[in-house]
């Protein structure tokens, strides 16, 4: 029987202070038992001599200086792991909420994880086909990558994530070794339901582990949610050799929780009130994607974040972009013109795609097509800017061609149905057909030989606006 300490010294927001406790270690887990019999979990965030500051996960409502008994567990927060986790639903702190009882643990692991040694990583090279042209051709997802979706409130990021999950699974050669870990942080009940329903409909639910911290759940738990999810993902990937796709939504809520917590600790704020360690903290999540040498499995992350005020320079998308290996940016204007998926091509990027495409992976002309599409579409923006000043009719013939290309590119390449699953062949050919709208001389990112092979103005005639 371990020692319980009666009473607290101070309660301040989500933190409590307890005095005269010897042998407390930094970062260890704490159980607080209220007189009502309710148990809450907490974590030591600061120790000073015999005084410990504890962060209470379920909130401090109802605590008083006298009604609480505290027990120190002597170890950091751990989560029970086993392959039986698949198909289960947990709350943000890793407690089952699906009524199926506790998990029979094969082993326990510290949810904070440890940094993966760069020499023990395998450089990710195998591509994941999502069946979405814009992603496959222009920002190819690679197994072991972290590729966030930068979206805004009210845009179709959830739909896109569901489509990726559904179609990526089919492309996976070893389908049975594929699983999804889903971490919801501060999302609305409807959104969590939408994901659950979608997983059910696609028959994937038995291969999904869900961690749900909804928007009305305690914010401190939100700090734990992605860590629990990633610990499960790492376990399944590196010890059970599975390919794991981790969907984390919404990182913005997570960062706000971190800010709330930081300010209640009285820390010096950095940009926009977020703590100075926001970068390191986000990195401790995102860097847990990857492939470990000698293991068959992989952890691929698709974090979703809603950019406050659609501002990509806001600290959350900004710092995320510096850590992740690219980003898929959604655009409100495209969304409003009815284009799904509303992917804003130019600022989107996949840093790992260059080594996972081309001959032996996708097709030899992949990188040429994608570079040329980027370059030509960038030119479309110039033409549009000019057209908005002088009118489309006054544009030079070549600029008019670009305007034409731009419209058709958005209508036929970007836009595709929620159930439409395009092969990589189809996607790349579509790219060439659209590029053939432009005069041959304009395609300066492509090898002359490749141009000879694929350039065909006849095929470009099939598109209508």
């Amino acid at each position: 029987m371990s020692i319980q300490y009666i009473g607290l010294k101070e309660i301040n927001g989500p933190m409590v202070v307890i005095d005269n406790v010897p042998d407390v270690s930094f970062d260890e887990m704490v159980e607080l038992v209220l007189d009502s019999g309710e148990t809450r979990l907490g974590r030591v965030v600061e120790v000073e001599g015999k005084r410990a500051v504890i962060q209470v996960f379920e909130g401090t409502t109802g605590l008083s200086l006298t009604n609480t008994r505290t027990r120190f567990t002597g170890k950091p927060m751990e989560i029970a792991l086993s392959t039986e986790l698949l198909g289960r639903i947990f709350n943000g702190a890793g407690k089952p909420i699906d009524g199926l009882g506790e998990v029979y643990a094969e082993k326990y692991m510290d949810i904070n994880g440890k940094p993966l040694n760069p020499v023990a990583r395998t450089y990710p090279r195998s591509y994941i086909r999502t069946g979405i042209s814009a992603i496959d051709a222009l920002m190819t997802l690679i197994r072991g990558q972290k590729l966030p979706i930068f979206s805004g409130s009210g845009m179709s990021h959830n739909k896109l994530a569901v489509q990726i999950v559904r179609q990526a699974r089919i492309a996976e050669e070893q389908g049975k070794n594929f699983a999804i870990v889903f971490a919801a942080m501060g999302v609305k009940n409807d959104v969590a339901d939408y994901f659950k329903r979608s997983f059910e409909e696609s028959g994937a639910l038995s291969r999904v582990v869900m961690f749900l911290n909804l928007s009305n759940d305690p914010i401190i738990e939100r700090i734990l949610t992605p860590r629990c999810a990633l610990t499960v993902a790492e376990y399944l990937a590196y010890e059970k050799n599975m390919h794991i796709l981790v969907i984390m939504t919404d990182i913005t809520s997570y960062a706000e929780a971190l800010r709330e917590l930081s300010s209640s600790k009285g820390e010096i704020p950095g940009r926009k009130g977020y703590p100075g360690y926001l970068y390191s903290d986000l990195a401790s999540l995102y860097e847990r994607a990857g492939i470990v040498e000698g293991s068959e499995g992989s952890v691929t992350q698709i974090p979703i974040l809603t950019m406050p005020n659609d501002d990509i320079t806001h600290p959350i998308p900004d710092l995320t972009g510096y850590i992740t290996e690219g980003q898929i940016v959604l655009d409100r204007i495209l969304e409003q013109t009815g284009i799904y998926p509303p992917i804003s091509v130019l600022p989107s990027l996949s840093r790992l795609m260059k080594d996972g495409i081309g001959e032996g992976y996708t097709r030899a002309d992949h990188s040429a097509v994608s570079n040329q599409l980027f370059a030509s579409y960038a030119r479309v923006q110039d033409a549009r800017a000019l057209a908005s000043v002088i009118g489309e009719d006054e544009l030079s013939p070549i600029d008019q061609k670009y305007m034409d290309f731009g419209k058709k590119f958005e209508k036929y390449f970007l836009s595709q149905g929620f159930n439409e699953n395009r092969t990589i062949e189809r996607t790349l050919n579509l790219g060439w057909e659209l590029l053939s709208i432009l005069p041959k001389e304009e395609l300066d990112r492509v090898d002359p030989e490749m141009l000879e092979q694929y350039y065909d103005p006849e095929k470009a005639k099939g598109f209508e606006i």
Binding site: E293, P315, D318, Q327, A375
Partner: protein
């Protein structure tokens, strides 16, 4: 009395009521013996920053002193290795703790069992001072390691071992200093990371660091011993640019510091460098490279130290007479580590929460670059190329602005260029290099016209930038033909010259001679075309000849070792333009 931990807050640990520590001393914290450094002392408490995760640490655990400042071990075995921010070899750490990095793991920095074939270069009776070389051994196929007397030591050689196989801790030479004390010199020595290694004198800058990247070598050169900063928002290709420079620049040794960056990127560098062959030596690139990887999720205090560890290693090889280039990716992450620790210490923040000493730390780092005459009389240089990741891509933030004051080459990476997949996305208008005048002699040696060509290209690009302002408002149709020509030529310069394909076998590295020829062809085409336009030939007629598109593609069409093919371009330009002119005169 034993010193014990009093409080723990993240990586900051405090010890009360002790006078045992000195500032910047290295210490071991706790039962796990985590590595830490003393960063603040008052009579009541000593503040220590810990380079490893402090999870599980308890007040009351011991703190051990080591008596010396945070130092690195310098000796053979550094090259081709990969270290974390405090010079722990990551490959050995993996052996010791597995794929994930554990805490309190003590591994020796350099391989202590490997034997090097050592040649002793001094004889008993010789008098040696700091920096003098007493032994050499091959470290890799391309780097000869030169063991030097530690800078602050001097004395008479009293004993030498014969040439032969030794490990790094074997004493090979014994010195007797003026006080009669004996010092045994092994193959390695220690040096504190925060103290620059002394040199005899700083030499003027005269030679560029050749990188094979046209926009750098021709337009915005960096000198050996110079400093450069590469600021750019995410996705603009900072890391790509750093990788290209690390691969192709003509330094003898590369120190690549991955400071708070992505793990997969470091793995990529490891993979790629062990496959790529250095064009100058024919050896693998790893054989001249040291990697320091402190990824973003590794402890933040070690990230702060990684920059100093890197530069100290660089200075050590400079002292041997090598030209060393450091790529630091990214210095913003280092500044953020400073901010994070400063916040934990509850220091008064200055701009955007960064500590007030940010500028002085930055300048102290960049000033360690230079072209030097070393203590032993040899010449060597340290060139620093630091990436900067401005928050929100906004160059007015403190790290970018302060860095700008201390570097002499500034390569700004441009988002819109990157969006159009124009790489390297170095903006030719906002970037600058202050080294042009100092390097004039060198470029004149390549060709007396080199800098003139460069100047003309730059003027054309500037004129284009101004014309584009007009074009954006009213379209290009209204421009007179001579201005239309400028726009067309500037496009050739942008696409055919400045843009460079890192994945093309010839285009990834381009020798200066080819860069010169390419400039010559472009300007020749421009001069000839302008002459025709002055004779009232419309620009559209000239464009129809296909010459401009041919010149754009010459970077791919002329292999690096067949520069004579450029002659055909001059004759083709002459022939086609002459034909067009006679046709035009007839009409």
């Amino acid at each position: 009395m034993e010193n014990v931990i009093f409080s723990i807050n993240g990586p900051v640990v405090k010890v009360k009521n002790t006078k045992a520590f000195s500032l910047l001393e290295m210490v071991y914290v706790g039962k796990k013996r985590l590595i830490g450094e003393v960063i603040g002392i008052t009579d009541r408490e000593t503040t220590i920053q810990v380079y490893e995760s402090t999870s599980g640490l308890e007040p009351g655990e011991p703190v051990e002193t080591t008596g010396g400042p945070m130092s690195v071990t310098l000796g053979p075995g550094i090259i081709a290795n990969i270290f974390d921010g405090i010079e722990r070899p990551l490959r050995d750490l993996r052996e010791a703790t597995g794929a994930f990095i554990g805490e309190g793991c003590s591994v020796s920095t350099l391989d202590e069992t490997k034997k090097y074939s050592v040649t002793i270069t001094v004889k008993p009776g010789e008098y040696l001072t700091g920096g003098d070389i007493y032994a050499t051994c091959p470290e890799t196929h391309v780097v000869e390691h030169r063991c030097m007397v530690p800078p602050k030591m001097s004395g008479e050689v009293v004993k030498t071992s014969p040439d032969g196989e030794y490990t790094i801790h074997d004493a090979v030479v014994t010195l007797k200093d003026e006080l009669g004390n004996l010092h045994e010199l092994t193959l390695c020595q220690k040096w504190p990371i925060r103290e620059p290694r002394p040199v005899k004198t700083r030499l003027p800058i005269t030679r560029p660091l050749i990188t094979g990247q046209r926009v750098i070598d021709t337009m915005l050169p960096i000198a050996k011993g110079g400093t450069a900063a590469v600021p750019g928002g995410f996705g603009t290709g900072k890391t790509m640019t750093q990788h290209q420079l690390a691969k192709w620049c003509d330094a003898d040794i590369i120190v690549y510091i991955g400071c708070g960056e992505r793990g997969n990127e470091m793995t990529q560098v490891l993979d790629e460098f062990s496959e790529l062959v250095d064009p100058k030596t024919g050896e693998k690139l790893t054989n001249r490279t040291v990697l320091i990887a402190n990824t973003s999720n590794m402890p933040v205090a070690a990230r702060e130290a990684s920059i100093y560890t890197g530069i100290t290693l660089a200075e050590y090889y400079r002292d041997m007479g090598y030209h060393v280039a450091i790529m630091a990716d990214s210095t913003s992450r280092w500044a953020e580590a400073l901010r994070e620790i400063s916040g934990r210490l509850e220091e008064m923040p200055a701009e955007e929460g960064f500590p007030a000493y940010l500028p002085s730390r930055l300048s102290a780092f960049y000033e360690r670059a230079g072209y030097m005459e070393n203590l032993n009389g040899s010449e060597g240089s340290v060139t620093i190329i630091g990436a900067v990741s401005p928050q929100g891509g906004d160059f007015s933030e403190p790290v970018t602005q302060n860095t700008k004051r201390f570097v002499r080459t500034f390569w700004t990476l441009d988002k819109s260029l990157a969006y159009a997949r124009h790489y390297p996305a170095i903006n030719w208008i906002t970037s600058y290099s202050e080294y042009i005048e100092e390097l004039r002699n060198f470029y004149d040696g390549i060709d007396p016209n080199f800098l003139e060509f460069r100047q003309r290209m730059q003027s054309l690009l500037n004129e284009e930038a101004q014309l584009m302002e007009i074009v954006k408002l009213i379209g290009s149709d209204v421009l007179p033909d001579d201005q239309k020509l400028i726009i067309e030529v500037a496009r050739v310069i942008r696409v055919g010259f400045l843009q460079q394909n890192a994945f093309h076998k010839d285009d990834t590295y381009v020798p200066l001679e080819k860069q010169l020829k390419m400039m010559e062809v472009i300007l020749y085409l421009y001069d000839k075309a302008r002459a025709l336009i002055q004779k009232n030939m419309p620009v559209s007629t000239i464009m129809e000849l296909g010459l401009f598109d041919k010149v754009v593609k010459m970077k791919y069409d002329v292999p690096n070792d067949h520069l004579e093919l450029f002659d055909d371009y001059f004759s083709e330009i002459d022939a086609k333009l002459a034909e067009a002119e006679s046709k035009f005169n007839v009409d």
